[in-house]
Amino acid sequence: MIDYLPILAMFILAGIFAGVSFFASRLLAPQRPTPAKEAPYECGIVPEREPAERFPVRFYLVAMIFIIFDIEVIFVYPWAVIYRQLRAFGLWEFVLFAVAVFVSFVYLIGNGALDWGPLRRMSPVAGTPESMRSAERTAATTVRRVDVGTQEPAA
């Protein structure tokens, strides 16, 4: 365990560094809070809605699928250290395990669980009739010019 002593010391030193920084900033920095400064960032607009309490379910899916893979990875490491001693037995065991995980992974992908393509509303171009998006439609044909020449200039 003694090999972890420097790591422990590093934890402590980094923690102290962060703590001392915050303390120094408290001593040195001005403390003049105003309601506008302390409001949540909203591009200068007064926020009307609370921050969202719910977010898309895909993020939860990713988290769950990640757990499966993280467990697989955790099993990979001990095997990777001694796979040469385990020889063919260890290899086939691991292939079996990997296939089991991979099949479930393929099932997830087949269900579109990892598909992040956005649901898109009908775009204006797709919804407009053909005549509205022909090649002849240019600024010259669509912008109505006000003929200033025939009008009397305002006195």
Partner: protein, 400 residues
């Protein structure tokens, strides 16, 4: 195994040497980040035909130091809606792992201080690589809790996005790192480095694929461009740290650059032989350190080059790349390398050492397995995409 410093029990000198090493590593990281921020700004300025920072010190080299000092004098605000305790805790969870993860990187060979031999490496625990992965997992908490505790829209969205990205690529990164472990059969970073000396680098011992996967996944893991969706300012303002100001923001910034240095150092250690290089008789203890820093410098500069060259990915492209390309490829390559090594040990008739004909058999077998593997995956991707498309059509939309 283990640092020879602790081989003969602990006395005062050993503790003092340990403290000295910790402080030196700490200062190196701080100084390294200051110089790296300056170098990134200067290098990217050159790439974009600008001058960059040039006021503070020669060639603006003191600019990041000046910024660092300035930040202490900035008002430290917490938004009214914030969960204050978590909001204050989160920067610690980002900074402490960032400092600690570098501890396992071997920088050079053995040196002796006051009659005690020690490695030029802060710590060499037997589970070095696992420690690294643990630190990178804890860093996700720093990101997620920062956004969640801010009580504000953009940080929350940014942190959900960031943590999904970081855990997705962590799986691919761990599999690529596991392939490097296969080559050595040890989790100690020192053993991995020694195994690769002198030109026996894992980069070509394992084929270039795991290295490529590691580089892509590590770039995404530390949110460097082109994977910096975490702070896509058009969509998310500043990402998870939007509400952080003053010195708390600076700690996040520091942690981000420190993580970039650490993943570069890990790439050097795992795939490019760490401090190994040509042996030179003049000052033999110095040269490994020089080789290590040259390799490290090449990597951190590569990250700046990437930032200047590549546009940011879209979120669905990012997830597709991580889950549907990198993870299966990393898994396939891991099994391939393991099968080759085990087959070689057991003198299977198709082992690589059995002449050209058998080498062809190996390639054919690997290709066959690959076709089944990636064919199944490709079919699943198509089915999944079709399903989502049908659902979208039912909801009255058109798929992008």
């Amino acid at each position: 195994m283990g640092d020879p410093l602790y081989a003969h029990g602990i006395d005062l000198a050993v503790v003092l040497i340990t403290i000295l090493k910790v402080i030196l590593t700490f200062l190196f990281l701080l100084l390294g980040v200051l110089l790296y921020i300056w170098w990134e700004r200067k290098f990217i300025s050159d790439l974009q035909n600008r001058i960059g920072p040039d006021r503070a010190g020669p060639h603006g080299i003191l600019q990041s130091l000046a910024d660092g000092i300035k930040v202490f004098f900035k008002e430290d605000l917490a938004p009214t809606e914030a969960d204050r305790r978590v909001y204050r805790l989160a920067p610690y969870l980002a900074a402490v792992p960032a400092f600690s993860a570098f501890a396992i990187i071997p920088i050079g060979d053995k040196i002796s201080i006051a009659g005690h031999q020690t490695y030029l490496q802060l710590a060499d625990p037997p589970i070095g690589i696992l420690f690294l992965l643990a630190m990178s997992s804890i860093a996700v908490y720093g990101v997620f809790l920062a956004g969640w505790s801010s009580g504000s829209k953009y940080p929350l969205l940014g942190s959900v996005r960031a943590s999904a990205q970081m855990i997705s690529y962590e799986a691919a990164m761990s599999l690529a790192v596991a392939t490097a472990v296969l080559a050595t059969g040890s989790l100690s970073t020192r053993a991995i480095f020694v195994h690769q000396s002198v030109w026996n680098w894992n980069l070509w011992q394992l084929g270039v694929v795991p290295f490529g996967i590691y580089m892509v996944a590590a770039t995404a893991e530390v949110n460097r461009p082109p994977f910096d969706l975490v702070e896509a300012e058009q969509e998310l303002v500043g990402g998870y740290m939007t509400e952080y100001a003053g010195v708390r923001f600076a700690l996040y910034y520091l942690a981000e650059f420190m993580n970039t240095i650490t993943v570069s150092a890990v790439a050097v250690t795992l795939f490019l032989g760490g401090p190994s290089g040509p042996h030179i008789n003049f000052l033999p203890a110095l040269w490994p350190v020089v080789w290590f820093f040259l390799k490290l410098f090449a990597f951190v500069s590569f990250y700046v080059w990437l930032r200047a060259t590549l546009p940011r990915l879209r979120y669905d492209q990012l997830m597709d790349l991580g889950w549907k390309r990198l993870i299966p490829l990393a898994l396939y390559w891991l099994l391939l390398i393991a099968a080759l090594r085990v087959g070689d040990d057991a003198h299977w008739p198709w082992g690589v050492n059995h002449g050209a004909l058998n080498a062809i058999t190996v390639v054919a077998a690997a290709a066959g397995a690959g076709v089944v593997f990636f064919g199944g995956l490709g079919a699943a991707i198509r089915v999944g995409a079709k399903r989502v498309e049908e659902e979208t059509a039912r909801a009255g939309g058109v798929r992008a």
